[in-house]
């Protein structure tokens, strides 16, 4: 197998607090291939956004990467000094956040922000940068891009702003775009448009996408593979169709059953009892064991390793792991 674009191995992120150190990510491993869309799902607090922040080196203090490694095309980036990392952010890794308002500077026109980003990372003239900017806005579906490029962010509607943010993330032709809940703040009808734009433009340019969201529907429509996080640990990772249609981890199958869909007819939704543990109260063994319908005695004592399955799937569950393969 060719070297992956991004490779995360045994990533540990910790937050020291007054009442002990909280482990927000516990030995998380995954790869993103060239041009691939990897969906990252989980409930709030599962660690999906922290994974994104760790990759671009933007973990809020006092949190820190306490173990593991992150490689971009084989080069370690988690140990880079801040100035080198800054060159990777924006240039090689673009970012799209939930709230388009905070990603855009209200004091500058869209043109100014796009041209500055393009010229910071690419060696082009002002005029060429402007041409590229117009082309980008056109691609993300902003009508009359040439006329609107000199408008300020507040002149755009929420959906249009998120398109501008996507253009900005792609301005330096990154290899990877990290999109953190890019559609959550938007209306249902606009959400679908933004998903389409994000998927199409990244496919056009061959950029890989790490799509962080709580919305399985968005993943189903967009991603090639999906990674399911639970309490800071990887539960399951695999091709999106397989995971959605035939989840192996009891958490994933419970999650899928609990989502109401347009086609379903049952009166009651399948529900997982309880809720995800807080980081300061993660149970011993498998983090999911108190809620798991198929719990076995050693689920309560040993943490299951991420076990390879057919079709490149991996599952961290004792139902599929060889006995005696405890993680760590």
């Amino acid at each position: 197998m060719a070297e992956p674009l991004l490779s995360v191995r045994d990533l540990v992120v910790e937050f020291p607090t007054r009442r002990g150190t909280l482990r927000a990510l516990d030995r998380v491993s995954f790869d993103i291939g060239e041009g691939e869309v990897l969906g990252m799902v989980g409930e709030s607090g599962a660690g999906k956004s922290i994974t994104g922040s760790a990759i671009i080196g933007l973990i809020d203090r006092p949190g820190r990467i306490a173990g593991g490694e992150i490689r971009l095309r084989g080069e370690r980036i988690d140990t880079l000094p801040e100035d080198k990392l800054r060159r990777i952010r924006g240039k090689r890794i673009g970012m799209v956040f939930q709230d388009p308002l905070t990603s855009l500077n209200p004091l500058y026109t869209v043109a100014q922000q796009l041209i500055e980003t393009i010229r910071t990372h690419l060696d082009v003239s002002e005029r060429e940068a402007r041409e590229r900017a117009v082309a980008l806005l056109d691609q993300v579906g902003i009508p009359a891009a040439r006329r609107r490029i000199d408008d300020y962010p507040h002149h755009f509607s929420g959906g249009m702003r998120q398109r501008v943010v996507i253009a900005l993330a792609l301005a330096a032709e990154p290899e990877l775009v990290i999109a953190d809940e890019p559609t959550t703040a938007l209306d249902v009808s606009v959400q679908a448009q933004i998903i389409d734009v994000l998927r199409d433009i990244c496919a056009d340019r061959g950029a890989a996408v790490m799509l962080i969201t709580h919305d399985m529907g968005v993943i189903a429509e967009t991603a090639d593979r999906v990674a399911v996080l639970y309490a800071g640990r990887m539960a399951e990772i695999g091709p999106v169709r397989d995971v959605i249609k035939a989840a192996e981890h009891p958490y994933t199958s419970g999650l899928m059953g609990s989502i109401p869909t347009l086609a379903q007819t049952a009166d009651r939704l399948t529900q997982i009892p309880g809720s995800m543990p807080r980081l300061d109260a993660i149970p011993q063994g498998c983090a999911f064991n108190p809620r798991c319908p198929r719990v076995m005695p050693h689920c309560r004592t040993d943490q299951p390793p991420l076990t390879p399955r057919a079709q490149g799937r991996q599952v961290a569950c004792w139902l599929y792991a060889p006995a005696g393969a405890a993680h760590g």
Binding site: E43, L262, Q271
Partner: protein, 329 residues
């Protein structure tokens, strides 16, 4: 309708969004009004779940607030069990108030962080003088158990609970005055999906157990599909369509209902290619003339740009659309 518990008739609400008086004088601007809700009428039948769906600016929360008396209607009226809600005062209103309750969207904002859970749940009991002392404590403990928590949780503070547990507490508070009707304003949109399933199931169980009537407000069609008997689709403050719960999903009439359905992600991975959704919601301060949906509508005709379509009864529901009216849909 004989069995209507809540009747909403011609409900309208404006908001004054004018600039301050001095600015208006200097800039010679007239007063500006935003029409949040325009001429909305529907009935909620006893024992059913009536859902209102819509996106931002559709007026769904404004309608909810008017129904529970948090906002005064600018025009139109609301009847609860045949009694008008506006203009009723004093003891009669107090009696009426006990019979309806509300569940809010954000379980982190809907519980007073400085109150113990028991106090929070007991507030309606005290306010309506339903019980006191040991009897009230027993009732609070019983309610906590009804929503799946424990009687001992009454002594805790809201911050000791997760989002889903807090929403259970909010539901216990809503039940504590033994209401017949509960307005649920996006009760699960702040929750994770696995917790959402628990809350939706709980709400259904409670409905069966206590014979509750729900007004369920949501932007999520899949959730509405799961919960509602009948559904009203709102667009920019007006009802576009009212339809039977199943019917809306199999035969949507209004072009906007169809568009909303198209926008729902395809979780079944059936491979259906969605139709591209066009345009965005216009600014409600300056809505398009005629039918507010016409700039995004695939079935637009000249008439839609000039006249506002009136609701036309169709089967068990209605649709406000010229295309449907003229059979072009």
């Amino acid at each position: 309708m004989a069995d209507a518990l809540v009747q909403v008739q011609g409900l309208t609400r404006y908001f004054d969004v004018s600039k301050p008086w001095l600015n208006r004088v200097i800039e010679r601007e007239p007063k500006a009004y935003l029409t949040a809700v325009a001429d909305v009428s529907f009935d909620i039948r006893r024992g059913e779940t009536f859902a209102l769906v819509g996106e931002s600016g559709s007026g769904k929360s404004t309608i909810a607030k008017m129904i529970v008396g948090l906002l005064e209607p600018s025009d139109g009226r609301i009847l609860f069990d045949g009694q008008p809600m506006t203009g009723t005062d004093g003891a009669a209103m107090r009696k009426l108030r006990r019979r309806f309750q509300m569940i809010f969207q954000d379980p982190f904002a809907s519980l007073n962080p400085r109150w113990r859970v028991g106090e929070i749940i007991a507030e309606p009991i005290r306010t309506f003088g339903l019980a006191s002392g040991a009897e009230m404590r027993r009732e609070v403990g019983r309610l906590l158990e009804v929503v799946g928590l424990g009687a001992r949780d009454a002594a805790k503070f809201p911050h000791e609970f997760s989002g889903g547990q807090r929403q259970r507490i909010a539901i216990a508070r809503a039940l504590s005055s033994r209401p017949e009707f509960i307005v649920c304003d996006e009760p699960t949109s702040a929750l994770d999906v696995s917790v959402q399933a628990q809350i939706l199931n709980l709400m259904r169980d409670l409905q069966d157990e206590f014979g509750l009537t729900y007004l369920f407000i949501s932007h999520d069609l899949s959730v509405v599909r799961h919960m509602a008997n009948r559904i009203g689709v709102l667009y920019l403050g007006r009802l576009a369509e009212v339809a039977d719960g199943k019917r809306l999903f199999t035969e949507p009439r209004h072009p906007y209902s169809r568009m909303l359905l198209d926008a729902v992600p395809d979780l079944e991975m059936s491979g259906r290619r969605r139709k591209r959704v066009e345009g965005e919601i216009p600014n409600p301060i300056d809505p398009p003339p005629g039918c507010a949906f016409h700039p995004r509508c695939p079935l637009v005709a000249d008439r839609c740009r000039r006249e506002i379509p009136q609701p036309v009864a169709r089967g068990d529901g209605m649709a406000a659309c010229f295309a449907v009216e003229e059979g072009r849909g």
